[in-house]
Subunit: 202 residues, 2 copies
């Protein structure tokens, strides 16, 4: 089984994914996926990070300005190329073992697989803001600004590369508000879903 996790920033989605992978004995991939992709492609990891989903270049592209305007000499790898390499890595990993993937449009990349469950994690506005503030050591006001900015970027990235809409209930198998049951309770609900699906598929 492959699990993909999309998430609002500050929702605890990454932690939920990590704990889920540990509970299930699945491999876990988020930023380390980038490094892996870099290694497999023979390119330098730093270049991957520059062209990451949250980078400024991509964010500007969501404003529909011509791509070439944002290609600078310091970035050798275009976001499209990075996305393609990442997608290949995700597909190859999924062939080898059960994984939990965080972000990277993995739900879309793995859409042809019958054994892929896509989950989206939300949380109350206040919980998201508090989590960001704590993690980044900034004020609640600043954290709220970060929240808006990063969610916008994630949406732009997802909407650009997939035929779906980021954060739409319709784009995922399940979405859940982590403020309701907390991190562990949310992990348990996802495990429940996986077990029910596995039981149904026999």
């Amino acid at each position: 089984m492959q699990i993909t996790i999309g998430r609002e920033i500050g929702s605890g989605g990454r932690e939920i994914g990590k704990k889920l992978s540990e509970k299930l004995g699945y491999a876990y991939f988020d930023n380390n996926l980038l490094t892996l992709a870099a290694k497999e492609s023979g390119l330098c990891p730093e270049e991957f990070i520059k062209a990451d989903e949250s980078n400024e270049m991509l964010s500007r592209r969501s404003l529909s300005l011509p791509f070439s305007a944002y290609m600078s000499s310091e970035t050798l790898l275009s976001p499209e190329k990075l996305f393609q390499i990442q997608s290949e890595v995700i597909l190859n990993l999924a062939k080898k073992k059960s994984c939990v993937f965080i972000g990277r449009c993995a739900d879309y990349v793995l859409r042809e697989r019958q054994d892929c469950l896509s989950v989206f994690i939300t949380a109350s506005e206040l919980d998201c803001i508090k989590r960001i503030a704590k993690r980044q050591k900034i004020s609640l006001k600043q954290a709220d600004e970060v929240r808006h900015k990063i969610n916008k970027r994630r949406a732009a990235y997802y909407n650009f590369y997939t035929e779906k809409k980021w954060g739409d209930a319709d784009s995922y198998d399940m979405s859940i508000n982590s403020s309701l049951l907390g991190i562990d309770g949310t992990v348990d609900m996802i495990v429940e879903l996986i077990e029910k699906v596995e039981h149904k598929q026999g």
Copy 2:
């Protein structure tokens, strides 16, 4: 506990809500809520139906045309007034007993209650189309048109009366794709959520 169910047309949301209420021993309210509201307010049920969430007048209003343009002499009850009466009925019912509410922005109406869980039901496009075609005895092509039209109306209704966005994962505690586990399996997942929340709240 109060359960509210939003749903895409053809997702099986209503059936899921009905089965859920039976399983939990909760009261169930969808269209019969309108009749009840009519009785309680002393108005004629037919007038409620005219001003229902799926009616033409409201749908046109979503195009931001002036409301007065759509008030005809045959409708005595404005959509706003209907919404207000329905909301009062929902609030009163929730005070008396555990309920499952289908549609009517019940999640928003009950937002101040701590014991309210909001669920949104989706399904694969094909499953929705097939379900509509079967129920309305129309072709798949016609069913797809109905699907677009009704989902648009539901979104317009919800977005008009609430501060949230219809179908956004962020607007609900949980959303689930009923194509994954079927009607009964989806009911079981919602029961699971309720039990976990009740256990957490002690």
